[in-house]
Each structure stands twice: as structure tokens, then as C-alpha cells.
């Protein structure tokens, strides 16, 4: 028996060499010369003698063992497993591995129940321990396989395009058909896996109740509870891990399927084209492009439709033609109310009627802010008003209002009263 510590020391010292051997030869055998070369590569300064000594050390400690009936060597299986774990170079296991363990778990569950019935607590403890061990093993397998699938996916993705499709995806297809699918079937809610766990869980729960009721061997209760939790967790972890693995593989599988489809279709179409001619075969399906020639013309039906649609909408939606009678007369905001003007006019010219007053100068004085046209508007309103007494002058007069000059025959405030008075 080699002391563990001594072995570990050798391993740390020669880990580089072992890793090299492991990666280069994978699981295959190699010769003594290969080992010596590997050591030489890692430690170029060492003398031949030293290398020979170190090689012997690896051999003596059973890290490297000779193959049966051969001078070839291989890495000790236990060490190789350890290395795969450390380097995450895991290879996909079989779905059967897990299903065997689950079957065993079911068997142990039955034994556990029986031991509980006859109150053999030693047996109970023993089975619970073995079951615990199995559950851990299954969990380890799940993790291991998930890593392996990750490796497969990475490889399939990283490989350069030089490799053929078939080769590139071979591992993916295998992983899917040989691991994921059977596993998914097993984990399915109506599958054996589920039923088995339900039974085991029920069995353990019964035991726990029993212990609670009888009050015997209380410390076993904790162990059973732990086992139950672990089994539930395993179920969950397994489902989770499978889902993740399937998610990783699925796109690649789809890709392969699609690529195969496209390649096949391309070959078929080219065959048809060879037989029937390019234009006959491809005219109907060719993608069309908008081209420069169409750019400046209403070349396409769609353009004309858009043009017509544009015509329909030509009038702005919100614009409504007004009805004839609900148009209020336009009034400039500055113009004062006509009635006020009229009252003021009357007030002013009631008494001062000796001399004819030009209407315009009255407006100019009273409303100095108004524009000329606004003033004229009031002027024409006043002169056409029948209520007021005004008279038109006989002479053309030039008048300046609001900085504008007008020449007109102005209307003046009436002096008719006076005239009448004098005439009479």
C-alpha cells in the first residue's frame, strides 16, 4: 500500500507531465519512451539519469501501469478519472447508468421499508446510508453529463467550417439520441422515475411518522429527513440539468436539420435549372428589387395606388366648408362697436351744427388708434345709415387720416337744420 501523501506529492510534482500524457493520448496507451519525452519536455534541464529515475517513480507508485501482456503503458484508471474531473474533460455517460442507480434506489427503498416494519434500526440506518450514497452518485452523474454536453456543444460550435456537417454534428446527434431523449422520457412526469421517487418518498415519510409516534431511535429521524430532502433535490437538479443540456443541444440539432434541408434543396433546384434553363426555373421566385429606373416614375401598381390615395386625401381632413349663413361678418378687432360710434356721433353733432363738420375728421379725432381702412369702414357705415343726417360736399377735398391722404367728396355732418332755419 502506497501512502496517500507520498502519492499526492508525486502527483503535484508531475501534474504537468500527466496532463500532457492525458491530453495527448486521451484514453489510449503509450510507451515508456513517450513518458520520458513528456518529462523531458516539461523539465528540459533534467539529466537523462534523473528522467529515468522519475519515470520509475511514476511506475512504482502505480500512477502509470503497464498494460497486460504488453510493454505499453497507461494511466491508472483511478488517476485518469480524477484527471477528467479536474480538467473537466468529461465524456458523456449513458442514460442507463442513471436508470440502474434509480432501480437500485427503488430496491433499497423497499428494504428500508421492511426494516422499518420489523423495527430493525441498525438495518434501517444501513440502508439509509447506502441510499444516500446512491443519490449522491446520481447527482454527480447529472453534473458530469451536463459538463460533457457543454464540451460537445463547444466543440461543435468551435470547429471550423472545413469539417463536414456530418462529422461536426455527430457527437451532438449521439448525445441527443443516447442521453437526452431517454433521460427526458425517464424524468417525464408519467415516467418510471417519477413513480419510483413518489414511492420512496412515501416510504421514508411513513418511517418518519413511525419514529415520531413510537419515539424510538430519535436520531435516525434526522438522517431519514435528510435523505428525503436529498432525493427531492436530486429530482429537481436532474430535471434542471436535463433541461439545460437539451436547451444547449437543441439549436445545434435544428441547425443541422435546416442545413441538410437547404443543401438538399439547392442540389435539387440546380438539377431542375440544368434541365429547364435558368430563366424558366427561377423567374417565378427570384426576389425583386426596386431599381433606379422605377425611382422617378409611377412604375408600379403600388405607386399609383398611393398616388390615388393621396388624391383622395388631398383636402385636409379637418377643413370644413362653412355654411353660408353661419359666417359672422368680418370685424377687425380694433374697430369699436358701430352702435357706440353712432351714439357718440349723435351726441357730438346734436349741438354743434352751425358748420358742416367733415365726418372723417370726426372719426380721426375720436379714434386716433385706428388704421385708415378701418376708419373708412366706419365712414361708409355712417354714411349709409339712414338714421343720421349727413350731406355730401360738392367739392373735392383732400383729407389726411391716419397718415394717409385721401381725396374725395366727403360727407359732412348735416347743417340742414341751420339751412332750413335760415331758409325758413
Amino acid at each position: 500500500m502506497i501512502p496517500a501523501k507520498k502519492l499526492l506529492n508525486t502527483l503535484t510534482e508531475h501534474w504537468g507531465v500527466l496532463e500532457l500524457l492525458f491530453k495527448r493520448f486521451k484514453m489510449a496507451d503509450f510507451s515508456l519512451k513517450d513518458v520520458q519525452n513528456a518529462i523531458k519536455q516539461k523539465q528540459p534541464s533534467w539529466s537523462n539519469e534523473r528522467i529515468y529515475k522519475e519515470t520509475n517513480r511514476l511506475l512504482n507508485q502505480d500512477i502509470i501501469i503497464p498494460l497486460a501482456k504488453s510493454s505499453q503503458l497507461e494511466i491508472n484508471r483511478a488517476i485518469a478519472d480524477f484527471a477528467t474531473f479536474l480538467l473537466q474533460e468529461e465524456h458523456l455517460g449513458l442514460a442507463q447508468e442513471i436508470s440502474v442507480l434509480v432501480d437500485d434506489l427503488a430496491r433499497l427503498g423497499n428494504r428500508l421499508a421492511k426494516a422499518g416494519e420489523i423495527e430493525d434500526y441498525d438495518e434501517l440506518r444501513r440502508f439509509s446510508r447506502i441510499m444516500d450514497d446512491r443519490v449522491r452518485k446520481i447527482m454527480k452523474l447529472f453534473a458530469h453529463n451536463e459538463n460533457a454536453i457543454l464540451n460537445i456543444v463547444e466543440q461543435a460550435k468551435a470547429d471550423n467550417a472545413v469539417q463536414s456537417l456530418q462529422k461536426r454534428y455527430q457527437a451532438v446527434i449521439e448525445a441527443f439520441d443516447e442521453y437526452i431523449e431517454p433521460m427526458l422520457e425517464m424524468v417525464d412526469i408519467r415516467g418510471d422515475f417519477h413513480a419510483c421517487f413518489n414511492t420512496i418518498e412515501a416510504q421514508i415519510s411513513t418511517q418518519i411518522e413511525q419514529i415520531d409516534r413510537l419515539g424510538k431511535s430519535y436520531q435516525d429521524k434526522r438522517m431519514l429527513e435528510q435523505l428525503r430532502t436529498r432525493i427531492l433535490e436530486m429530482h429537481l437538479v436532474g430535471r434542471e440539468s436535463l433541461r439545460k443540456s437539451a436547451d444547449m443541444l437543441m439549436p445545434l440539432r435544428e441547425e443541422l436539420r435546416r442545413n441538410n434541408l437547404i443543401t438538399r434543396q439547392a442540389a435539387k433546384v440546380l438539377g431542375l435549372v440544368r434541365k429547364n434553363g435558368v430563366d424558366n426555373m427561377l423567374s417565378a421566385v427570384q426576389p425583386n428589387f426596386v431599381s433606379d429606373a422605377q425611382r422617378f416614375s409611377l412604375g408600379q401598381q403600388r405607386h399609383i395606388v398611393a398616388y390615388m390615395a393621396g388624391l383622395v386625401d388631398f383636402e385636409h381632413d379637418e377643413y370644413q366648408l362653412p355654411e353660408h349663413d353661419d359666417v359672422p361678418a368680418y370685424q377687425s378687432p380694433h374697430i369699436p362697436d358701430y352702435n357706440d360710434v353712432k351714439t357718440q356721433f349723435r351726441k357730438r353733432f346734436k349741438k354743434a351744427s352751425k358748420k358742416a363738420q367733415p365726418l372723417l375728421s370726426f372719426l380721426d379725432e375720436s379714434y386716433p388708434d385706428l388704421e385708415a381702412d378701418e376708419m373708412l369702414f366706419l365712414y361708409q357705415k355712417l354714411i349709409s345709415d339712414g338714421d343720421l343726417e349727413i350731406s355730401q360736399s360738392q367739392e373735392k377735398v383732400k383729407i389726411k387720416i391716419a397718415q394717409q391722404h385721401f381725396s374725395l367728396y366727403p360727407f359732412n355732418s348735416s347743417i340742414a337744420d341751420d339751412k332750413k332755419a335760415t331758409e325758413q
Binding site: S164, L270, V278, N288, V290, G299, Q301, A306
Partner: protein, 181 residues
């Protein structure tokens, strides 16, 4: 009704110019692509009103859809289609993953010569007789349509090529326009 603020559409002129000439704007045209991506509703409404049919393909490109081509453009499109299908077959025959190689490999003059040599019978129908004919008549036009981009010593195909792959999947005996039809 979408409110369109023309001030927001800073690359309208460039985009309009490209799209109306049949160009496909893909992710490689960073500026225009981002602009379209951000204001897609406004652009779609605007171009729709002008009678264009702005299409967005989720594989990463924009273009104006069209139901018909001018005879000249139709001929170009068929030449491109044939080239792509031959490329797919060529990659598959040489044991490569065709969909990956299609977008990852540089198409150089040597490849073009090989393609024309192997498929002389087919390219003859399109009056393409040599690798440089193929370059001039197909690849340079693909660049102009945004289907490919020029790189150091050849061309790289871009996402809009998927339009041809979709078309490929549509071909069957029924699409044959025989003389009797």
C-alpha cells in the same frame, strides 16, 4: 396616425437614396441601420405614403419590397440566385457546412473561376464566361444592392442573402414556367 417629425429623421436623405435604388440596409451599415431601427414607425409611415413598402427582416436588414422587377433587374436577380445556389452546392460538395461557409468565407477570384468552370453550362445561359465576368456581373452588383461587401481580396456575403435562401425553399416543379404555359 403617426406623427412624423422630419427633424428627427436625420439620415432620411441617405436612407431614401439607398433604399429606392434597391439597396438592402443591413447591420453593417451601422448609422443608417440604427436610425431605421429607432424610428421604424415613422419611416414606415412616411415611405408607405410615398408608395414604397419598407420591409424589415428580423435576420437583420431593411429593404423596399417590390412585386416586379424591370427586365434588367430580373436578369441580375436570377444571376445572383444561381450564384448563391451554386455556392451552397459547392460548399456542401467540398464537405463544408454550407450555411456557415456562405457567410464566413471570403469569395475571391479563384473561387469565382472554379464556380464558373464547374457550372459552365449554367453560367453560359447568363452570358457569364469567366471568373472576372462573374465578379463584374454578379458580385459588384451584389455590393450595390447591399447583399455583399467588398473586403481585402474578395467579397463577403451579408444577411440579405437570406431572401435568396427563402426563395430557394420555394422552388419546386410547379414554379417551372415551361414553353407551353
Amino acid at each position: 396616425m403617426t406623427d412624423i417629425n422630419l427633424d428627427d429623421l436625420t439620415h432620411l436623405q441617405a436612407i431614401n437614396k439607398k433604399l429606392t435604388s434597391g439597396y438592402h440596409i443591413s447591420e453593417q451599415d451601422t448609422l443608417m441601420w440604427q436610425e431605421l431601427d429607432q424610428h421604424i414607425d415613422a419611416y414606415r409611415a412616411l415611405f408607405n405614403a410615398l408608395g414604397h413598402d419598407l420591409q424589415h427582416d428580423s435576420r437583420g436588414f431593411y429593404y423596399f419590397g417590390s412585386d416586379e422587377s424591370t427586365p434588367n433587374m430580373g436578369k441580375i436577380s436570377r444571376a445572383i440566385a444561381l450564384t448563391i445556389y451554386i455556392l451552397i452546392e459547392h460548399y456542401a460538395n467540398t464537405g463544408k457546412d454550407p450555411m456557415r461557409a456562405l457567410f464566413d468565407e471570403v469569395n475571391d477570384l479563384e473561387l469565382m473561376q472554379t464556380l464558373v468552370q464547374i457550372n459552365k453550362h449554367l453560367f453560359d445561359q447568363l452570358e457569364i464566361f469567366s471568373g472576372s465576368d462573374l465578379r463584374k456581373d454578379v458580385y459588384l452588383r451584389m455590393v450595390r444592392l447591399g447583399l455583399a461587401r467588398e473586403v481585402e481580396n474578395g467579397f463577403m456575403l451579408q444577411a440579405p442573402i437570406y431572401r435568396y435562401i427563402d426563395a430557394l425553399m420555394e422552388v419546386n416543379e410547379e414554379t417551372y414556367l415551361g414553353d407551353d404555359e
